[in-house]
Symmetry: C2
Subunit: 343 residues, 2 copies
DNA sequence: TTTTAGCACTCTCCCTATGAGAGTGCTAAA
DNA sequence: TTTAGCACTCTCATAGGGAGAGTGCTAAAA
């Protein structure tokens, strides 16, 4: 779509103004508020053009203009000026992350809370997750009788714990010995490798390996790691969700884990780490998100460990700020992941 | 407060009807809908009395009656008939829990989802949590260089993981040996015991014990275990929350972990396992919950491991069903906890 | 003494009408 | 190509006027 500079300016201003006021924007308002060096009639003519090419829309004949979804998309794709968060903000955030560097769970909680408060929207962060589960360490703890606690540590930092019941009671020494052997032999192995090693163990060891493999398979099935959410009440305060039903649908997607995983999976398939996806108004696919926009990014190490982060807000979202926040947090998380992998 | 049987009946019916319709209830409606053997005038007189003692309220002079908070409290305290969930429902739920018995996290997810769907409200479940952290097992996994993953298993099933950086690189064998010694010596010890044992270890062991103690202290500080939430969108669909701001405040309490912990802590202090607390309209203390009611119960083994569960909905909540659901789920969880402790 | 029929009265809710205000599109002049 | 001027359109806020639901009171009935 070819637009003159003036048309681009007006589109930008309409979007900017509408994001602030949530109201249709009139030609007069625009001229006065932004001291434009042209008359309202000129603005009206340009608006007419923009309406014809479906970037703007009139709620009714004699109202101001409102950006269409296509308008927002054009804006995000062509006009948005990459803003960056203020240095002080960035420093504060980085500092917070630095303080909680030992604990992955804390990063993620912090990330999701920073996103929510900076973008004033609902936010989500998925724990970093490897496509292939790689064994790192196994621990068996005798509980009582035949009940044993199995703790499985994977290379991506994921820890799976499970109670298992063995055929007979086994002493802690024996359990530790087996766990030690499995840990030493299988380190850095994937499921297939471990299956091949299975025959080297005695009956008990093979039983345990079977459970272990089942658990690893389960981890691999999960499309994403654990999902952290925050800021959902931010969305509720937006005026377009006063008729609460729309908001409910949007929040429902966030709550319903399977839907959310779908959304992330289908949006992120072709997204590189560092790349950003902006989903405006559900893009025809996500009925529940018709009133919402979602900004998603991938973080981590593309070779091994990746996760997704994003924010969800009304279509009328401050895209520049939201995008730069998402980008910034994604970068911070990527750094933390590679630091974790490298040390 | 002394009421005649007829007054109790009418109060009950008004509450019942109002819960269904969310509208003020008129004398005529009541007589017709419930085939009362009296005239609407009689009902009106009784309603007048109930209004005088502040159990009912008129939104405006010529409207029907609405229960006051006090009315609901009287109802819950004196009139409610303990209903139980249908046997088939109970069986289905029990069966689901039975299937996920190995995995504590799965119980809790299931519990919170059952509560939400059965009570059609927002629901919460906290992980079982011991007042005193008791050591069970320690594991140290060499990562790379001086970076070590510490996995700490406590008796209540809580697992804490953390990356720690040692003064120098240590081999996995050495780490396993130390972890093994600490595990053997400290099993079933609390922080004080472990602090006493500290001198029996070499410098490295003491360093690790210090970190371990810090971690245990952290666990003890936390008033509750992890909190699981579900069904928040259920609350949004209630008509009294159409003016979305009220709903926002209520959901905010659920989202804001510290507030929620406060709420649980202050409500649960005097509640035994098996007991149920019903908080109607914030009870003057919780400003954000003025439009809501919360039903909370404690589950687990009072001697060692307890957690809280509850539902949050509009004041106009189907108390009988909600209470029996909470009670039932609390019982199921208590059974699972004692099974876990006993096996 | 208690219950009930009858009735006037009150208040909300919904519908309609009306006018102000904001904003548009078009035309003709600059 | 831009702009001033103007008629026109549509929303929104406000007010008025039933209809309907429900009450409280009074007096009669049980």
């Amino acid at each position: 779509m070819r637009l003159t500079d003036r048309q681009k300016l007006i589109l930008t201003l309409v979007i900017h103004e509408h994001i602030q006021t949530a109201q249709p924007v009139g030609s007069n308002t625009l001229v006065l508020k932004y001291n434009l060096a042209m008359s309202s009639a000129t603005v009206r003519n340009e608006m007419s053009v923009l309406t014809e090419v479906n970037l703007l829309r009139q709620p009714h004949t004699s109202a101001g203009r409102v950006p269409t979804e296509e308008g927002y998309r054009f804006f995000v794709g062509n006009l948005i000026q990459k803003s960056t968060l203020p240095t002080t903000t960035r420093r504060t955030i980085t500092h917070q992350f630095y303080q909680s560097r030992q604990d992955v769970e804390q990063w993620l909680r912090l990330a999701v809370s920073v996103l929510a408060s900076q973008a004033q929207a609902a936010s989500l962060v998925t724990a970093p997750h490897a496509e292939k589960a790689i064994f790192k360490h196994l621990e068996l703890v005798a509980t009582r009788g035949r009940q044993v606690l199995m703790v499985l540590v994977l290379m991506d930092g994921d820890i799976r714990q499970q109670f298992i019941t063995l055929a007979e009671a086994i002493s802690q020494e024996r359990l530790s010995e087996i766990a030690g052997r499995i840990s030493t032999l299988c380190i850095r192995c994937d499921s297939a490798d471990i299956a091949r090693l299975r025959s080297q163990f005695d009956a008990l060891g093979q039983d345990i390996i079977d459970i272990l493999l089942a658990e690893m398979a389960l981890t691999e099935e999960a499309a994403t790691g654990e999902i952290y959410l925050d800021g959902m009440t931010n969305v509720l305060s937006e005026p377009e969700f006063a008729e609460s039903d729309e908001a409910r649908q949007a929040l429902y997607i966030l709550q319903e884990r399977s839907l959310l995983e779908n959304l992330i999976a289908s949006t992120m398939t072709n997204t590189d780490v560092g790349g950003i996806q902006v989903l405006i108004g559900g893009e025809g696919t996500w009925e529940e998100l018709r009133q919402c926009s979602v900004i998603l990014a991938r973080y981590g190490d593309p070779e091994s460990l990746t996760g997704s982060i994003g924010v969800l807000g009304p279509i009328r979202m401050p895209y520049d700020r939201a995008i730069s926040t998402v980008q910034f947090v994604a970068n911070v998380l990527s750094d933390l992941v590679s630091e974790m992998l490298a040390v």
